[in-house]
Symmetry: C2
Subunit: 343 residues, 2 copies
């Protein structure tokens, strides 16, 4: 594979090279890459914006993350925030800090993933910044979306009696991370040993190529359900549930037996001798949607196998609880990912 040094392009040449094939998808994207700022026109709708920063060595490890997947995931985690507002993503801005370690070809792979995610979600890349980094790859993405005022869903409006719902399944991404970290360690100690990941494609896919739940956003819209509160699960179910409870001034009860865990995740967890429920509660990066609905809306969702009802909202004095399969009740504690304590 050929290697072109980034300095051969210069900043403007590089931006042009990486963005020259962009095609604008939304009529509202009036002006995209190539000027000081992007222009977005909204006709009476509300603009929703969210931003996330990803840093090599903190949020991703290039030794086992293919760059195309990284580009894809970087966009997905931002779009997930927009869907979590019950809004439709329309544009992103992408800034990258690049070390000389990366070749232009490597960066192209990254952008391939970025564009794949944009295409899948009908989103335009309308701007950004490209600069050099002395150490490591840095990615910062801002996602912009739109919604009519009455559709926007916050995390602070759950009410007592509401049902707690969760899309997809939980814990897989965390278990995938455990496998990749283990294989990395083995590889570093004995470079000749081939990785043993053949049966773990599900959990590894959950980590490296998460989905933003556009389908759930569309389903809710189609069924005319406006959740009473919503968040995406990036730091772990426990952590997000506590956010909803704290911000809404409510408590909750969830049931261990109702937590959605994929069969492959369960088997993989047992290989590490860890509890799949703990992974579902505290593992991050699944990017599923956690939301609450009025009990009256329950009927509308009964045939949706992509959504599990895992519990209900109580009053704040009850606290946040989980009932285990064994019949015990415990307080839910936030053990999700914490970037500062981890370091």
């Amino acid at each position: 594979m050929s290697r072109t040094e980034i300095k051969d392009y210069g900043e403007f040449g590089l931006i042009h090279h990486l963005t020259k094939n962009i095609e604008i998808q939304n009529a509202s994207s009036i002006l995209g890459v190539g000027d000081d700022a992007a222009v977005i026109d909204h006709f009476g709708k509300q603009t929703v914006v969210s931003t996330d920063m990803l840093i090599e060595g903190v949020h991703f490890d290039l030794s086992y993350t293919p760059l195309k997947h990284l580009g894809y995931k970087s966009v997905i985690v931002n779009l997930s925030d927009i869907y979590a507002m019950n809004a439709t993503p329309t544009q992103i801005l992408l800034s990258v800090g690049i070390s000389n370690k990366l070749s232009v070809e490597a960066l192209e792979e990254f952008y391939e993933g970025v564009y794949a995610a944009c295409e899948e979600h009908g989103v335009d890349l309308v701007g950004g910044d490209t600069c050099s980094s002395q150490k490591g790859f840095i990615i910062s993405i801002t996602a912009i979306g739109e919604a009519t005022e009455d559709k926007i869903v916050k995390r602070s409006t759950a009410q007592q009696g509401d049902l707690i719902c969760c899309s997809g399944d939980l814990g897989g991404a965390y278990i995938g991370l455990l496998f990749l970290e283990r294989e990395k360690k083995i590889y570093l100690e004995s470079p000749g040993v081939q990785p043993d990941l053949e049966n773990e494609s599900y959990v590894i896919g959950r980590l490296l190529k998460p989905k933003a739940r556009k389908d759930i956003h569309e389903l809710l819209n189609e069924k005319e359900i406006i959740p009473t509160s919503m968040m995406d699960i990036s730091d772990g179910l426990s952590s997000e549930l506590l956010h909803i409870c704290e911000n809404s001034g409510v408590g909750c009860v969830i049931y261990e037996e109702k937590l959605p865990v994929h069969e492959d995740s369960r088997k993989a967890a047992y290989k590490f001798e860890i509890d799949p429920t703990a992974c579902a509660l505290s593992g991050g990066e699944d990017y599923e949607l956690l939301f609450t609905i009025k009990q009256d809306d329950y009927e509308k969702l009964t045939l949706s196998e992509n959504i599990s009802v895992i519990g209900y909202i109580t009053d704040s004095e009850q606290g946040a609880k989980i009932k285990t399969k064994g019949g015990n009740t415990y307080n839910i504690t936030a053990q999700g990912w914490n970037a500062f304590k981890a370091s």
Copy 2:
């Protein structure tokens, strides 16, 4: 001075700590920090967005950059992009990657500068991301602004015969950088020597505390002048002029004697035995506005001492030229800051 470790707060605690005193300034900022995304309402206006990333060791040096100034400048460079679209900035999103080297107190100083810039420009901080960085301080800001459709000014619409205008004065920030780099070198070699910067407050101020030209944006509005093209000068006058010429398909002539250089910058340049004109053409980070106007609008600007007319737009075959005080004509070449060639 006390030192609180960032890990003592945790991510959410830290965000809360740093943003708890924010007061929303714009009616359009419907939802700010504390949810998945910010919500911005625009009534028929167009939304303008721009983003910039600043990396320690590449864009700033903490050994001579006070954190409050850094916070202020990080916002300013983004707002400058919004003014350069002839739009009014309304919101920013701020993401920071923080190493353990920084204390909470240091970060508070940084945010003080951020809030000072926000207040000065009537802008709301509505969201962002806080994460840990293994190496160095990383800042990514997205600025959002608004304008009615007919007022937005691109860089691609300059026309033959238009006058080329420039706000403020040029080259000062670059000369300020030369002084600070020199003093840093002396300090590293002989830590006992006191810095000799007493007479250089103007150029050092230009580097550490640049202004985004809100006043020029307002003046143009008041005088009912819509520039035919506009950019902010971040990489150097030469580089930006070439962008306007290339994007508009035109040429230009500028006059050395018309270039605005502050008396203090001129004196400071001579101390380094460099040509003030070279600093004005190639020095970056002045964050002045470069714009073109129709000749008919010239009269409206004659009494504005903050704006210099430095030349005019020609057809593309003439290229981009500068006429020197000595009567010679040279091609303008881009020698502005290039992050990749510099490293």
